[in-house]
Structures are given as C-alpha cells and as structure tokens.
C-alpha cells in the first residue's frame, strides 16, 4: 500500500502500519522468532466468511507483515488476511491478538500514540 513495497530484501521479514497519508508508512524489521509466533497465531485463528475490504480514510488502516515468497499478512479490525501467490485467505481475530502482537513489536516512538488503542483509527 505504500512505497515500502520496494527496496525490501527478498529473505527479510518486514512489518509496518498503514497509517500515514503524506509520509511513507512506517516499517520495521522483525525477528524470525516473532514471525514464528505470528505464524502460530495465524494457524490458531478460525477461517472467516467475511470479505476482506482494505480500509480507507485518514488515520490508522491496519498493520502488515511481508516476507519471502510474496507472503503478506494484513490485520485490521478483527480480521487477518494472508496473501500469497496462491490467493487470499481471511481469518477471524476478534481479540485482535495478531494485530496487537504486530503493533507492539514496533520500535518505541515509531508509531503515533493511540494507534493501538484506536485513537488514530480511520473510519
């Protein structure tokens, strides 16, 4: 969704948040340990029948993880989607555990205050 799609190493896992309009969205590297944790979280989530609609508007619009093989998780508003070359799968995460784990891994001061609590949330 942002300029951060380019310039990432092929084998690196990068997390980020869709939050800005003018500036490029913030991104940060994440460890393989956290990727494993997220993978386990993902596997524990039930499938969702809801259609994944990328949120719009000004403010926080979700968080993401991108990794090798064009894998991308996006988490927002109780849903997590996984996009791979094979397609898109959506799972339900009403407690937003995946999203919170991701956001809490951001370096301190990188994200605006209130993103996690919803104060920056787009409509």
């Amino acid at each position: 969704m942002g300029t951060s799609r380019s310039g990432e190493k092929d084998d690196a896992w990068v997390a980020g948040a869709f939050v800005y309009s003018g500036r490029p969205d913030p991104t940060w590297s994440i460890s393989k340990r956290l990727v494993k944790e997220l993978q386990e979280l993902w596997e524990s989530l039930p499938a969702s029948e809801e259609k994944w609609e990328p949120p719009g508007g000004l403010g926080y619009r979700g968080s993401f993880v991108r990794g090798p093989g064009h894998r991308e998780w996006v988490a927002f508003n109780g849903l997590v989607s996984l996009t791979t070359p094979a397609g898109v799968e959506v799972r339900s995460d009403p407690a937003r555990k995946f999203e919170k784990t991701l956001l809490l891994s951001a370096p301190k001061g990188l994200l605006p205050k209130g993103v996690l609590e919803g104060a920056w949330r787009a409509s």
Partner: protein, 225 residues
C-alpha cells in the same frame, strides 16, 4: 415565418421561431368575436371562453417567467482538475506510489512526493510552519485568504497536519467539492465520516486536526518529487 406557429401572451413560438410580437394584441385580434376565430364556427360562446383562457394563461406566464439556464451547469471551478478516481485507483504502482501531495497537485511522480524535496527545501518538522514553506519552494502559491473560493487560474488545494506525525492535502474539484487520496489508498471524494467535502476546514479529518492554509497550484508551474 413558419407555416404554423403558436401565439401565447404576445410570444410567437414555432419551428425556428421565438419572438415577441410587435403588436402584443395580435392574439386578441385573432380571438375576438369579430375576428378570424369566427371563421372556425366553434359556436357563439367559444370566443369569450377563449378570451378567459388567454387571460388565465397570461397570469400563469407572469407567475412563472422564463429564466435562461445558467451555463455551464455545476462547474464552479472550471480550471480544477477532473475527478477521475479510476485513473489513480489502479490497485497497483500508480495508486501505491502516489500520495496526497501527488493527487492534490495532480502531478504523478510515482515517488510518494514530499513537499520541498524537488527544491532541496524539504520540511523538517510535521507542522504547518515547516510544511507550508516547503510547498512554497515547490512553487505552490500560498492563498490563506482563499476562503474556499476557486482561483481564476489554477486550482485550489488545502494543507492539513496531524501534529508531529504527518501532513495531508486536499484538492478542490470542478463541482466545488473537495477530493483527496490518503497515502497509497484510493482517491476518494468523502471524508472519514463518509460525507462529501464542501470545505476541508469542516470535514472529518481524523487525526489531521490542524488546518494550515489554502494554496493554489498553477498547472505546469510546480515541480515536486
């Protein structure tokens, strides 16, 4: 004169004919009991009935006078760029790599353009005081007193700030409403409440709480990167 035409309250209307009669009494002349209407043999009461109808019609015409349509319809800002979201919203490189600054200035760079970068005068803080001069360095024209009015040349844009974190731009369209493109998301004509935007000062802007200024973009004059 066409072969047939209508006479109504002194107006002559017909194929390629729309004139005011030199003698506005021509209708009465035709309709009077002793006039041409008698030749139609519609009965003795018909002329008086017709005169009453003519008078009634005259009053109707006086009440709802013809007003020429204003042209062009709906185009309040004729120099503003077209709202053509599909052009920007390709869910691909064009959409992801052009931000609110690109969209508001109607200038595609595919670089997520930053105010002042092209002029070597990029903003140093996420404040009005810092982003505004950066945009001026790109040759946007400050118009703080624009008060949501279209300029005679170029188009109007508006700068807002999420203090300390980000900037955002809107642009005024031909129909007088504002549109914007939040980051890499699709261009849209609604605010965070899903409402059309007649004025960015009063729109739901989420965390972009500081309205900075209006500016004018002169097409072809600016340079952004």
């Amino acid at each position: 004169m066409p072969k047939t035409f209508r006479v109504a309250n002194g107006d002559l209307i017909g194929p390629q004919l729309s004139h005011r009669a030199a003698d506005e009494e021509v209708e009465r002349f035709i309709a009077r009991n002793t006039g041409l209407i008698r030749q139609l043999r519609l009965g003795n009461k018909f002329p008086s009935f017709l005169l009453k109808e003519m008078e009634r019609f005259r009053k109707v015409r006086e009440k709802w006078k013809f007003r020429p349509p204003r042209w062009p319809h709906g185009e309040r800002c004729r120099c503003a760029p077209l709202y053509e979201p599909n052009w920007w919203n390709d869910n691909g490189q064009k959409q992801w790599n052009n931000n609110c600054y690109n969209y508001s200035t109607n200038y595609r760079t595919d670089t997520f353009a930053q105010p002042g970068l092209a002029a070597g005068a990029e903003y140093t803080a996420l404040t009005c005081a810092s982003v505004r001069p950066a945009a001026l360095a790109d040759d946007l024209i400050d118009s703080p007193s624009a008060n949501n009015k279209c300029p005679k040349e170029g188009h109007l844009v508006a700068l807002v700030i999420a203090p300390g974190w980000d900037f955002h731009w809107y642009r005024k369209g031909r129909n007088g409403y504002w549109t914007h493109k939040p980051g890499g998301t699709p261009a849209t004509n609604v605010d965070n409440s899903g409402a059309l935007i007649p004025d960015p000062r009063t729109a739901n802007r989420g965390p972009y709480t500081d309205f900075c200024t209006f500016m004018v973009v002169m097409h072809g004059h600016i340079k952004i990167r």
